[in-house]
């Protein structure tokens, strides 16, 4: 463990200054971004960042200080600042929330990966993107083609005053292509894979699985065709959502709603609260009986999969919605303790600079038993929508409106003509209760999101919502265009 001496000093200082408990997380992160835009390498950078963040608990209140220097003076100063802030917070506070953890771990975790991105020559990465981006210019209306790759490697060490010593190496990778078609006063975008790209916990295999070159021409052609496609109709009708859009639907209307810090008002001034109440656990019907959503922070390919979260809790699986009923929440140690539950290991910090907080991690809708092509069978009048373009939901996670990049008319069980500007809206529990079919495991995929925002200062989280396409009955369609 590289930072053990530094950790010992910082934690000793925190205890000497009066902390009842302290933990410290050292991180060294390497981030590579390559983006090709209209034939040119618009972004090619390699970022290295390292530092530590120390949490101190004093009289039931937390303080957090972070610093990028590792000399003794800086370690001591950061520990002292964290303790001073905790003490100032405790003096102003009229409640106490912080508790000392009971379990310590000594362990090591490394993300399983098939191919370390470091073994893929930079020239090969750039060439792949140049070729893929060139491919999206498959129609004359394509004004902007883009192709990009993001690669992360994070080495972190966690130490606590109760004896935890945890080392982790986390690999995360992803990439995408997109095409923007412009014509006749309109612009239309298509992206692949899904609407954010293909991102997961792992290595270069994520980029290979994305098949960027293989799908480039089709994406460009679809963007072009959308310019002249008919507008999505409005009205109440059945909707089939593609897997990545179901993933987004889970993220916004289940994932954030079930974060226990929101429910307790910790995000009220910014990200909002939730329509859920801990007292409704086991009583609230969230969705139809085929809807089961679970946390799985141990899953292969999970974008948020780690061995331990950023407050030192071992990763777990836990139910949030079981057979349509609300049964649990995404939680930290402090928030779970308030409702007499165990932490669901959902605490993450964006980097060493950020305080750990509850984040949506891997939260998945379990697959159903209907082959994808049979979802259409008994839809008399509806729309199949793929790939998110617009997303908005109220600050209690009830009233939502989403738009997708592309849609297809469904008439009498058959997928028909392409539609542009599909939008739909609804209210969370009613919508999930209208879900009457989920495609089977053959079309279930670990969709990752690289840019989930929450917290103040804002933190960007990486999260997976695995999902398969699903069918929803009697949905308000066309709402985004005022009809």
């Amino acid at each position: 463990m590289e930072f053990s001496a530094h950790a010992e000093r910082a934690l000793d200082t925190a205890l000497a200054r009066g902390a009842a408990y302290a933990d410290v997380r050292f991180e060294r992160a390497r981030t590579e971004r390559i983006e090709v835009r209209n034939g040119e390498v618009a972004d090619l950078r390699d970022a290295h960042s390292e530092g530590f963040g120390l949490r101190a608990l004093v009289d039931g209140a937390w303080g957090f200080a972070a610093c990028a220097r590792f000399d003794d003076t800086s370690l001591d100063a950061a520990a002292a600042r964290a303790v001073a802030m905790a003490r100032a917070g405790a003096a102003a506070s009229r409640q106490r929330i912080g508790t000392i953890p009971l379990e310590a771990y000594v362990d090591r975790y490394v993300t399983p990966l098939e191919r370390d991105p470091a073994g893929v020559p930079l020239g090969e990465r750039v060439a792949l993107l140049l070729e893929a981006e060139a491919g999206v210019h498959s129609a004359p209306s394509i004004a902007v083609g883009r192709a990009w790759i993001d690669l992360w490697r994070t080495d972190k060490e966690f130490y606590s005053t109760i004896g935890s010593r945890i080392a982790q190496t986390i690999y995360q990778s992803g990439g995408a292509i997109s095409a923007l078609a412009v014509g006749d006063g309109d612009s239309q975008v298509r992206m692949w894979p899904g609407d954010r790209g293909l991102y997961f916990g792992g290595g270069w295999e994520a980029i290979e699985l994305a098949e960027l070159r293989e799908n480039a021409a089709r994406i460009g052609e679809e963007a072009h065709q959308l310019l002249s496609a008919p507008q999505c109709p409005s009205g109440t009708m059945d909707v089939i959502l593609g897997g990545s859009q179901v993933s987004l639907q889970i993220h916004e209307s289940c994932g954030h709603a079930a974060e226990l810090d929101r429910i307790m008002g910790w995000e009220a001034n910014f990200s909002g609260t939730s329509f859920l109440d801990p007292a409704e656990r086991g009583k609230l019907r969230y969705g139809s009986p085929i809807v089961t959503i679970e946390i799985d922070n141990t899953m292969p390919r999970g974008f948020a999969t780690v061995g331990f979260d950023d407050e030192g809790t071992k990763s777990v699986r836990a139910d949030i919605i079981r057979d349509g009923m609300l049964v649990g929440f995404e939680s930290s140690r402090d928030t779970a303790g308030q409702i007499g539950a165990a932490s669901t290991s959902c605490v993450r910090a964006e980097s060493w600079e950020y305080v750990p907080m509850i984040r949506m991690c891997n939260l998945n809708l379990l697959p159903g038993d209907v082959p994808f092509e049979h979802l259409f069978d008994d839809v008399r009048d509806g729309v199949y929508m793929e790939a998110n373009r617009s997303w908005s939901i109220d600050d209690r996670r009830l009233n939502f409106q989403f738009g997708t990049q592309i849609g297809w008319e469904i008439k009498h069980g058959k997928r028909g003509r392409m539609l542009k500007n599909p939008t739909y809206g609804g209210v969370t529990p009613a919508f999930w209760n209208s879900c009457d079919a989920i495609a089977d495991a053959a079309s279930w995929f670990e969709w990752g999101t690289p840019n989930c925002g929450k917290g103040e200062p804002m933190q960007t989280g990486r999260t997976t919502q695995a999902a398969a396409p699903a069918r929803f009955r009697n949905v308000a369609v066309g709402v985004g265009y005022g009809r």
Partner: protein, 443 residues
């Protein structure tokens, strides 16, 4: 870290580089934030960092690498990596040109010593004053108090040597009173604005006034957006002023420079020297920022460029570059919407039937080219009847073209610095004659 130390760090980068041309961006950052809910502090953070970004140009090719370690070995490594990366980049049609030296003057009062020296106890004191307001008004509160100081230095082998230091502080509070909520915020370089009692009282008053909200029918309404709400919307204009989006056709302005695009009276500027939001007088390439009107009395006047887009379109470089190279294109970091004549009270008094909106939430693009946006009202939405605030209403979802709304609007006479989801700007309250709501909520 002060400007001199950042300059010394940048100079070490340039000295160690064997690239044809090199740029160093050194940023120093110290930020602290105290966050609270239900009258306790649940998050209290203090973070320091210094980052170095190196852009190396070799045979016309560009490589970028960054680090936050400042020792000689780390600097050698980051320079070497930037040069290595450049070798793998294709040679672009135009060789990038780095910024030369320019005489630059920072706007006054951008850096306030008292803000840089603010303590956790001071922030907790502001929070405690808000707690008192919550208790005395029968509410619970949630919000934050933040103070920060930092700076940026950009040096190039072409001679640029630009530095700026600034301070920021701010607070926001949401008060919840049974079935209603209220909101207030303040932002400035100087901690003098951090009046917890006043902020708490304003948010609590809104929460209490909007108690027992009624549902109103969605549809077309006359709407007055307070600055915090209007700022959330106006932020979505930012990308439309970019020469890149203009040229590529994704901006509503594409092909319309010189035309009337909004109502007379709408003037939108980018102004780094506005006293409510003083910012660096140079962009992230080290070039001087122009203070210019983008929309003037409703007419599209100017586009924003960086060095690459200025050359590409044969236009002047307005100094709105983000760290280069980048895929985003030029961007305005200091949008200012000019005020009108009437006060906010007069706008309300002149409204026979309408809605007053304190704040918006989760605003997103439905249609980029047509500037159709969707989002929700939150934290204080009121019915106006016969020029008076009648009562609170339940929150609504809107779907509205922002440019269409700015075709018939009136601004209030007082500008405010807004916080926003991720983008700060200077804006007054605005009255839109027509604003379309699509649905309502249960609260």
């Amino acid at each position: 870290m002060d400007a001199e130390a950042r300059r010394a760090l940048a100079a070490r980068v340039l000295e160690r580089s064997r690239a044809d041309a090199t740029e160093a961006i050194v940023t120093s950052d110290h930020r602290a934030l105290t966050r609270f809910t239900h009258e306790f502090v649940h998050q209290n953070v203090d973070v320091e960092n210094v980052a170095i970004r190196v852009r190396a140009i070799v045979d016309g090719r560009t490589g970028v690498a960054s680090t936050n370690a400042g020792d000689d070995a780390a600097i050698d490594a980051v320079v070497r990596r930037a040069i290595e990366i450049a070798a793998f980049a294709p040679r672009p049609a135009e060789v990038p040109v780095l910024a030369p030296y320019a005489s630059l003057a920072a706007p006054p009062a951008a850096y306030v010593d008292a803000t840089a020296a603010a303590t956790a106890e001071q922030r907790a004191g502001v929070a405690a004053a808000i707690f008192d307001q919550a208790a005395s008004n029968g509410c619970w509160c949630s919000g934050y108090v933040t103070t920060s100081d930092g700076g940026v230095t950009i040096a190039t082998t072409a001679g640029a040597d630009a530095s700026f230091d600034g301070t920021e502080c701010g607070a926001n509070v949401k008060m919840t009173a049974g079935d209603s909520t209220g909101f207030a915020e303040c932002y400035a370089p100087d901690t003098l604005v951090l009046d917890g009692a006043a902020l708490g009282a304003r948010a609590a008053q809104k929460a209490r006034t909007s108690a027992d909200p009624i549902a109103v029918e969605p549809g077309e309404w006359t709407v007055i957006l307070e600055p915090a709400a209007f700022g959330e919307l106006a932020a979505f204009l930012a990308t439309h002023f970019s020469a890149q989006s203009y040229d590529e056709g994704s901006s509503f302005l594409s092909g319309r420079l010189g035309e009337r695009v909004m109502a007379t009276g709408v003037t939108i500027r980018d102004d780094y020297a506005h006293p409510l939001h003083p910012d660096a007088p140079f962009d992230y390439e080290g070039n001087p920022k122009a203070r210019l009107a983008l929309i003037e009395d409703g007419v599209a006047r100017n586009l924003l460029t960086d060095s690459a887009w200025a050359r590409k379109l044969g236009r002047p470089n307005t100094g709105h570059g983000l760290p280069a190279p980048n895929a985003q294109g030029p961007f305005p970091l200091d949008l200012v919407i000019e005020p009108g004549s009437p006060s906010l009270d007069e706008l309300i008094a002149g409204t026979k039937r309408g809605l007053l909106v304190t704040r918006l939430w989760y605003v997103r693009i439905v249609d980029q080219r047509r500037t159709i946006l969707t989002g929700m009202t939150r934290d204080g939405t009121f019915l106006i009847v016969d020029g008076k605030i009648a009562r609170g209403v339940r929150n609504l979802r809107f779907n509205q073209s922002l440019v269409d709304a700015l075709g018939t609007c009136t601004f209030a006479n007082e500008q405010h610095r807004t916080g926003g989801y991720s983008y700060a700007l200077v804006a007054p309250a605005v009255k839109f004659d027509r604003f379309t709501f699509a649905s309502t909520t249960a609260y």
